[in-house]
Amino acid sequence: MAPESAARGRKRLAPGRGTVDRMIEVNGLTKRYGSTTAVDGLSFTVRPGHVTGFLGPNGAGKSTTLRLILGLDAPTAGTAMIDGRPFRGRRRALRDAGALLDATAVPSGRSAAAHLAALARGNGLPASRVAAVLEQVGLAAVAGQRVGDFSLGMKQRLGIAAAMLGDPGVLIFDEPVNGLDPEGIRWVRGLFRGLAAEGRTVLVSSHLMSEMEHTADHLIVIGRGQLIADTPVAAFVEQGARSHVALRTPSPAALTAALAAGGGSVTPGPDGLLEVTGLTAAEVGDLALAAGLALHELAPRRASLEDAFMELTADSVDYLAGELS
């Protein structure tokens, strides 16, 4: 531990920061705007070494939470810490955490290089970092062009470059995939995984469940400002929508009875299929053989993250709709 810490340079050797280094800790976080509660008693911890997906329907409070973590907004109650202390008041924050909050929030009259140079200089970072991150996000060739002329995808890349400028241990990206083309999406997934593999904390928000399935190891799901799930991706799928086994048989009635007797629950699926929950595909096959019934098709079906998300957030979304009506 000690040699590792020493190798990581001066700034992370501050006393008392070993265990919370590179962690985002949110505790009882609440933000009210008048009578509206955007974030409601949220508590979670984001750890290094993983890509953590921050999910929720539109209006769930994701962006507000990220602003609170970064000290841009002040919480009504609770705390948000990075490296064990609030973000507010730091002078050279880019070394601790980098963030892409809104790709369209750019200085349209300035060049990409000048925009990044100003950020780098303000944090005492060498000018060589500007060229390095522009190269890393693939914008080196357009470094001198006005940011106002960039496409949304290029602005996302510029925002990602700005977040990486200080080589920080914590990276926060709010909806980074919007506007990226398929090649860009593939690139950004690899980038996030690479940053996490280097031991950094990577928090990525999205309202697109399918996107997180390919990017995140861990999920924090919120709805109406409250925590719905804080779990590894695989566990989230299990917990949300149960997996099932799909089968086709010439004698559905007899097989349904046999599987029910074996502890399964059978429901008719689309297109003449039967869907079995509570049994594995192997158990279904064994029970059919024991009953002497033919199977024409047998396949385990894994619920998608999308299904799991819809199921878990249905309550919070319904509640919101009910409240408004």
Partner: protein, 275 residues
């Protein structure tokens, strides 16, 4: 915790440079200021306005001098003639201050700025330093040029004054410092109002609308008029003070108090408000 200890740690590729933090922030704001081409256009417009209007007024007075009766000749203040353009250009300099701030609010860039440097008052101080330095440098050069060119024209009628004339150097420095005060007030109003149109309206009310309504001889009208920046700079740039004009000290206090009060309010608000 075990997972955190088990994961490899990033190798730092970035080492701190040994410069002062305040210097870094000022350098950062200077990069922002000079890297937007519209800033250059606005400043150039301000210079041309300040210099050009003064030149026109001096030329007009010089060409009419021969035909003027003695009473009207006495009303001509050769030094004040050189700085008439500053009364118009001040609005453009105020806009430079306003836009330095509101540009970041309107684009949303302010959040990127404050996430990178969460010490917001330090950012405000750095912006104020850059705006002050640029405005003072541009203002001083423009004031010197306006004075030199205007007095050269007036000297054709032998009514021009030289730099060694009492009050001339003071007027030139005051004109530059007045522009600094105006642009800093604009910067502070940009923080307080966060919107260019609103902040510029506030500037126009204080600099132009207020003075234009305050004509009269009752004490309170004179007091209010003398508390406005327009009378203060007019006093410092004139050879002959008019009746009820503020003293030089009063004028200097008025010029300083606007940016000080508004910047103090801005520093209070910028720290407390959600970005």
């Amino acid at each position: 915790m075990t997972s955190a200890a088990a994961t490899p740690r990033p190798t730092p590729q970035v080492t701190a440079r040994a410069t002062t933090r305040a210097g870094d922030l000022v350098a950062s704001e200077w990069i922002k200021f000079r890297s937007v081409s519209s800033t250059h256009v606005v400043l150039l417009t301000a210079v041309i306005t300040a210099f050009g209007v003064g030149l026109l007024v001096c030329n007009s007075d010089a060409s009419q001098w021969a035909h003027l009766p003695p009473g009207q000749r006495a009303a001509i203040d050769p030094m004040a003639d050189s700085f008439v353009g500053f009364a118009i250009a001040q609005l453009i300099f105020a806009a430079v201050g306003v836009l330095t701030m509101t540009g970041e609010y309107s684009s949303g860039l302010i959040r990127t700025t404050f996430a990178a440097v969460p010490a917001r008052r330090a950012v405000l101080a750095a912006k104020a330093a850059v705006v002050s330095a640029v405005t003072f440098a541009v203002g001083l050069v423009t004031a010197l040029a306006s004075f030199a060119a205007g007095q050269a024209i007036l000297s054709r009628q032998h009514i021009g004054i030289s730099l060694s004339h009492p009050g001339a150097v003071r007027a030139i420095i005051a004109a530059a410092l007045f522009l600094v005060a105006v642009s800093l007030t604009g910067l502070a109003l940009g923080v307080l109002i966060r919107n260019a149109a609103g902040a510029l309206t506030a500037v126009v009310v204080v600099l132009f609308v207020g003075p234009s309504f305050l004509h009269g001889t009752s004490r309170w009208v004179i007091d209010i008029a003398n508390a406005l920046p327009a009378n203060a700079i007019r006093r410092l740039a004139s050879l002959h003070p008019w009746p009820n004009a503020p003293s030089v000290t009063e004028a200097v206090i008025v010029i300083v108090i606007y940016p000080v009060v508004t910047l103090a309010a801005a520093a209070y608000v910028i720290h407390r408000r959600d970005a």
